[in-house]
Amino acid sequence: MSEELSEKLDVLTDLFKRRLSDDLDKRKLLEEQARRIQQAEGALFRDLQLPLVLGVAAVIDRIDRHEGEEREFALAIRDELLELLAVNGIREVPTDTGFDRATHEAAAARAEEGSEPGTVLEVWNRGYARHGWVFRPARVVVAL
C-alpha cells in the first residue's frame, strides 16, 4: 500500500513539476510577447505620431515666446494644445524640480547670485515624455 502511495506521489510530484515548468515557460512567453507588443507600439508612435507631436511642440514653443497682440488668445490655444497632448498620453516634463539630466537638457549655464547651483533659471523649450520615454527633454538654463 505504501509503495502504491509512494508511486502515486512520484507521479503527482512529476506532474506538478511539469506544470510548474509549463507555467514558467508560458509566463516567459507572455512576457516576451508583452515586450514585443510594447516595442511595436513604441515603434508605431515613433514612426507615425512623433513627427506630428514634435510639430505641435514647436508651435507651443512659439506661443510661449509670443509677446505681441492677442496674447490671451494665443495662450488659450497653447493650453488647448497642451491638453490635446496630455489626452494622448504625452506628459509635460516638470521643470520646477532643479536640473534633472534625465528629463532636462542644459542649453546654457550661468552663475546667478542667490541661485543654488543646479537651479533651473529659465526654460527655453518645454520637454515631453510618453510612457516614461523622454522623447524631447526640456531645454533649460542652469545655475552654476
Partner: protein
Amino acid sequence: MGVIGIDLGTTYSATAIVRGPSPEILENREGERLTPSVVVFENGTPLVGVEAKRLAAVLPDDCVEFVKRKMGEPGAAYVDADGKEYRPEEVSALVLKRLAADASMQLGEEVRDVVVTVPAYFDDARRTATKDAGEIAGLNVLGLINEPTAAGIAYGLNKQQSGVFLVYDLGGGTFDVTIMRVTGTEFDIMATGGDRNLGGFDFDNLLMGHVATRIRDQGGPEVRESDKGEAELRAQCEQAKRRLTSMPQTIVRVSAEGATFQVPVTRAEFEELTASLLARTEVTVDEVMENAGVDWDKIDRILLVGGSTRMPMVSAMVQRMSGRMPDIGINPDEAVALGAAVYADTLGAAAGGAIARIPVAVSDVTSQSLGTIALNERNIAQNSIIIPANSKIPVKREKSYYTVQPGQRAVDFELTEGDDEDLRYVTVLKSTELLLPPGLPDEAEIRVVMAYDIDGVVHAEVFLGATGQSLGAVELQRDNNLGAHAVEQMRNAMRDLEIL
C-alpha cells in the same frame, strides 16, 4: 550570450543584433536608437550618452566629444581635476562599455562579444586603438569591420554574386565615399576618401544664415546675437530641412522681440543655397572614382548611408552623375550598425562552432601599403612597396634589393607606410641600421620579408640573399598605440568603474 555589432560613430553610436531572419537595432536605456558618443565626467564619475549630451553645457571642460577623431594619436583626450589623464582609447572604452551595458539590459543577458565598425580610411594605428578600446571596456572584440562594408552587408550585397559598389555616406558632421569590389562574400576596398568637415550641420548653417537675413529684411533683429535666438533658429531650420525632404516648400517661423517672423523657403531655394556643399561631395566622388580607376559604367550599385542622404538633392545628384537610381530602403542612420550585427553573428557562430543565421565572409585587408626605402635606377631614394594596400590578412611578401658598393658593411632599413613612391607622402614607422658581413661583392642581394599577421601586427626580417642568413628582425610596436601591458592595466582599472 548575445553577440552584437557596434557602429562607433564620431557623434552618435548604435548597436544591433541578429535574433531572427534580419538584424535589429537595440534601443539604449533611454529608449533611443542612437546614443551620443559623448562622455562627461561629473565629479569624477563618467556619464555616457544621452544624459552626458544634456549635461555638456553645464560641464563644458569635463565633456569629451568627437574622440573618434583622436583615436590612434598619442596623448590624453581628457585630463581631470586631479591631473589624471584619459587616453582616447579609454574614453572610447567608456562609450563602448555603456553601449554593451545597454545592449545587455535590452537582451536580458550579458554582452561581451562584439564587432566594432571603423571608417575605411582608418590606418592600422587607429584600428589597433579601436580594438584596444574594446579590450579596455572588458569586451571581446571578435573583429573590426569597415563602415562601408557593414553598410553593404545591410543592403544585402553579400547575397550578390559580384560587383563594384559605391557607398556615399553623408552624416551629421562627416562625408565619406568608398568604392569596393564584392566577390561572392568578400569585400575589398578599392578606394576611399572624404571630407571630415562636411555634414548635415553645414547645410543647417547655410539655411540659418539665409533665414536670419530674411528676418532682418522684415525689420526684425539679428536673431543669432543671443544664444537663445540662435538655438531657436537652429531648431526651426533643422525641422524645415526635414520637411523639405518631403514637401516642395515650407515656412520657417521664428519669434523674436515680441514679434513672429515667417520666412518661406522652397526646396529649390534650399538646394541653391547649399549647392556649393553638394558640389564638394561631387568633387570627392570624382576623386575617389579616379583613384579606384573606375567609370560609372563599372559601378553596379550605389548605396546611400548617413541621415543627410535623405535630402532629395543628394540622390538627384548621384543619379545625375551616374545615370542610375541609388539604392534606398535601409534607414541610412542605422545601416552600418545593422551590417555590423550580421558580421558579428557570423563571427560569434564560428567561435561557438555554430552556423550563423545570415552567414557572411569579410576578408580583412591592410588599409595602407607597407614597404621600405630603396634607391631607384636614378639613385633617388623612394618608397618601395612590399605589401600593397588591400592585401588580404594574413599576408607575407618579399622583395629583393641590392647593395650599392663592394664590401658594404651596413644598410639602413626603414619600414614605411603609404601608397606613394614620393617619400614626402609616406610615414616611416621604424628605422634601424643592419650590419652586413664583411667581403660582400657589389650588388649583393638583400631579401626583405614582410608579414602582416591576423592581429594586425607587422613583422619584417631582412636576409642575405646568397646565404639566407638573417640580418635582423623587426616587429612593429606603434608608438601611438598602447602596449599589451597598458591595455591590461586600463582594463583592470575600468572593470569596477561605475558608468552612469
